[in-house]
């Protein structure tokens, strides 16, 4: 190949993909980044919602990585297509609702489609054999190649020497001798390589870039599916699972209660889609009602919401019930005592 080879690197924002892309740049490969937004990405969301977090510096790590590398970053919305990955994972789930192996195969396949459409030659990931218990094992490496249909157009520079040569190595676009043989869960080789390249301020490798690996989030997702007739979901559904206290007093409905001003403001955006409760007599949270409710249910929900208002110790609290058709009703309720709220209501 006389022209400069072109690779697209899957950029998560973590250290491994940063290093993988940089290793290829060192060999003169033109690298651009690609990042897939599934709707479950942790990146930025809770920071953006919670008022108390808004003073902290916010940075999208994938963008930060791209800027450090001096490469373009293409952020792709895969929310709709990702549903099938989450709902029907061929390889099942990890410890929570994380379909990591199917997810990786899906993302590499999308990257493979992207390189075909954009005239690139191969795909780069920061995978390391043995790094992740589900998706980064010696046995799963060929599975991802096969199921993504990328085959040997997929190069993992950090552990390439432990794997058969790929197309870019065989074609001489990349020198295999200047790739690496990392394996296992230790981060020391990556940290040493980062130091060699002069990277210091990279995101800490916590492995938690997806809400589906979070137990609490996964529990709320499963609860949502169990109480609906279908497991389908919209972006709003999965966003709301990231915000507020979720309590289910009965199978037919749950209450989502803002925990602070930022969350209340975020929930305000959904007030036309849900019955919502406002504490009228005291300072208090906004609460959304998700489900079909009777008057008795609304009174229970109002008592729960009042519990989290500044009127929690008052004899009675005035709660405004706002229906989606614009009707409004005011209830006088006794806030529920904290120990009267069954633990199993909390999701």
């Amino acid at each position: 190949m006389s022209k400069q080879p072109k690779a697209v690197a899957l950029i998560s924002g973590g250290l491994d993909s940063l290093l993988a892309a940089r290793v290829l740049q060192e060999q003169g490969v033109h690298v651009e980044g690609i990042n897939f937004f599934t709707g479950f990405c942790v990146e930025g969301h809770t920071h953006a919602i919670r008022k108390q977090d808004q003073a902290k510096p916010k940075r999208n790590n994938a963008l930060w990585v791209a800027e450090q590398l001096g490469i373009k970053l293409h952020i792709i919305d895969v929310i709709e297509e990702y549903k099938d990955v989450l709902l029907n994972p061929k390889h099942g789930y990890g410890q929570n609702m994380n379909p990591c192996l199917d997810c990786k195969g899906f993302m590499v396949r999308k990257a493979d489609e992207w390189i075909a459409a954009n005239g690139f030659d191969f795909i780069v990931t920061g995978e390391v054999i043995g790094q992740r218990p589900m998706s980064q094992r010696k046995e799963t490496m060929p599975v991802i190649q096969r199921e993504s249909r990328a085959g040997d157009r997929l190069l993992r520079p950090l552990c390439a020497k432990n794997l058969p040569p790929t197309l870019p190595e065989r074609e001489g676009w990349v020198d295999r001798e200047r790739l690496y043989d990392f394996s296992g869960r230790s981060r020391k080789p990556q940290m040493a390589l980062a130091a060699q390249f002069g990277f210091t301020d990279y995101a800490q490798p916590a492995g938690g870039c997806c809400f589906l690996t979070d137990k609490n989030y996964s529990d709320k997702l499963v609860d949502m599916w169990q109480h609906r007739s279908s497991r389908d979901y919209q972006l709003d559904d999965i966003m709301l699972l990231k915000v507020g206290r979720h309590l289910r007093p009965a199978p037919n409905y749950k209450v989502i209660i803002g925990r602070e001003e930022g969350e209340n403001n975020f929930l305000e955006g959904y007030r036309n889609q849900f019955i919502h409760l406002r504490i009228a007599s005291h300072k208090g949270p906004l609460a959304l009602i998700d489900g079909e409710t009777s008057e008795a249910d609304l009174e229970t929900a109002a008592r729960v919401a009042a519990r989290f208002s500044q009127g929690r110790d008052a004899g009675a609290v005035e709660v405004e019930v706002n229906y989606t058709d614009g009707r409004q009703q005011t209830l006088q309720v006794a806030p529920m005592a904290l120990d009267a709220i069954p633990q199993e209501w909390y999701l």
Partner: protein
């Protein structure tokens, strides 16, 4: 006098990276020099949209913030930064 068209993009209520994705898609349809004015509510957009523009060859002309809304004006580049 050269007339430069300004295109509006409403990205309110979207959380990052969705405003960035909308900007990316909108700019892909613009000619170099055209202006995109995006309105957002996620404060993260104040960092993310300029960062995305820097690495992808577009220019942020100015940003303004009023109450909970952020307006960012971007001049489309030719994509060859």
């Amino acid at each position: 006098m050269v007339f430069v068209s300004t295109h509006q993009l409403d990205a309110r209520r979207l959380l990052c990276p969705m405003p960035v994705i909308r900007v990316q898609d909108a700019l892909a349809a613009l000619a170099p020099g055209e202006i995109l004015e995006v309105t957002c509510t996620d404060p993260g957009a104040l960092n993310d949209i300029p960062a995305w523009c820097r690495i992808n060859g577009h220019r942020v002309l100015d940003t303004a913030q009023q109450d909970n809304e952020i307006v960012i004006r971007i001049e489309a580049g030719d994509g060859d930064d």
